[in-house]
């Protein structure tokens, strides 16, 4: 239970809001009506995330943290841009996008997880940790969809709200990309 709680706190940590920003970008075209897609997309993110987290924590995949951070900001920008270009229509590519980009985000947790799980049974802690992350993600997405739903009910045009949120996400992710460009690129 401790590791479920740890995973939950980890994803809901406001200081690391880049994961939240990605979830906001990911769920832009979704509403409560598409609840099946919502589950698929979020679960695909968790699968990708869990897989690379395990691989990074066991040093099977080794990527420098500055490249991971850069990659995370790129995934946020690309996801928001993808949905904007498709005018927020549902895409069959959604779960795949989620799976691959989730993999990039998982690399960011690798070193942290390997440090905390060394003393405990590594894989025994891995499952509950990722369940916690999944629960945290579902919570964030449900809150987002709830905001969309309420906004619609009070007369806000969903398309306008989505455009506005996309503007915010694109701006923040662009700034993140610029701040995180690895020195090796120059």
């Amino acid at each position: 239970m401790f590791y479920v709680e740890l995973g939950l706190r980890h994803i809901l940590d406001i200081q690391g809001y880049d994961h939240m920003l990605f979830l906001i970008a990911l769920t832009l075209p979704l509403t409560f009506k598409e609840w099946k897609q919502v589950i698929w997309w979020v679960t695909a993110f968790t699968l990708g995330h869990s897989l690379t987290l395990g691989l990074a924590a066991t040093d099977i995949i080794v990527v420098e943290s500055n490249w991971v951070e850069f990659g995370i900001s790129l995934t946020i920008f690309l996801t928001a841009a993808f949905h904007l270009m498709r005018n927020f229509s549902l895409s069959k590519a959604g779960p795949y996008l989620s799976l691959v980009f989730g993999g990039v985000h998982g690399l960011g947790f690798g070193s942290y997880y390997s440090f905390i799980a060394q003393n405990d049974s590594f894989w025994w802690a891995w499952l509950p940790f990722n369940i916690g992350i999944e629960l945290g993600q579902i919570f964030i997405v449900v809150v987002l969809l709830f905001v969309y739903s309420i906004s619609q009910k009070i007369g806000v045009q969903l398309q306008m709200l989505r455009s506005l949120i996309t503007g915010v996400v694109l701006t923040l992710s662009t700034l993140m990309i610029l701040e995180r460009i690895p020195n090796e690129l120059f």
């Binding site: 401790f2 590791y3 740890l6 940590d13 200081q15 690391g16 809001y17 880049d18 960011g108 942290y112 440090f115 905390i116 060394q118 003393n119 405990d120 306008m160 455009s163 506005l164 503007g167 915010v168 694109l170 701006t171 923040l172 700034l175 993140m176 701040e179």
Partner: protein, 173 residues
């Protein structure tokens, strides 16, 4: 449409002043506490990141001109002893365990602080009423989380001391 573009531009300019420095930094330590019936001893190890630990030690030396890395290992160990005693306390059944620092092992990415204490009660008494207070590095990093794993008679319990629980928890096996 023009209105929408105007709102977007305004939002973008507004956000340009917003910091995107995402501090996804984790301040964490992991402590194992064992009840060793054979040695009639409570022992264990605290693991933390070397740079975090060095910062805490330098804070202890703030009134002096010396830096932690300049000290010899005996002086470093005496600092470790003082710090650990102040920040790490364990009680079982209201009785404090007299834990003493017993050495340091430094790895490439971790510092291990070893500790031990006498087992002054019968082994069975350590089954319940544990109270662990662990404020290691919390004086330096408010978001510090000290994960603690209690080991007793083949059983294991994991919890953590953090700001949310006043860096303290209780447990009975």
């Amino acid at each position: 449409m023009k209105k929408l573009v105007f709102i977007l531009i305004l939002t973008c300019f507004g956000l340009a002043g917003f910091t995107t420095k995402v501090k996804h930094e984790f301040y964490v330590s992991v402590t194992d506490i064992y009840v060793d019936a054979q040695k009639a001893q409570i022992n264990g190890v605290v693991k933390c990141f070397p740079d975090d630990w060095e910062r805490a030690m330098n804070a202890l030396l703030s009134h002096q001109l010396e830096r932690y890395v300049q000290l010899d290992s005996a002086t470093q160990d005496s600092l470790h002893r003082v710090y650990l005693k102040k920040h790490f306390n364990v009680k079982v059944g209201q009785q404090p365990i007299a834990l003493t620092f017993s050495g340091t092992v430094t790895g490439p990415d971790e510092v291990y602080l070893l500790f031990e204490g006498p087992m002054e009660m019968p082994f069975e008494a350590y089954k319940k009423d544990w109270n662990v207070s662990h404020t290691l590095l919390a004086d330096i990093y408010p978001s510090q989380e000290n994960i603690v794993i209690l080991h007793y008679s083949g059983q294991k319990y994991t919890s953590s001391c953090r700001e949310g629980n006043n860096y303290e928890f209780n447990h009975s096996f």
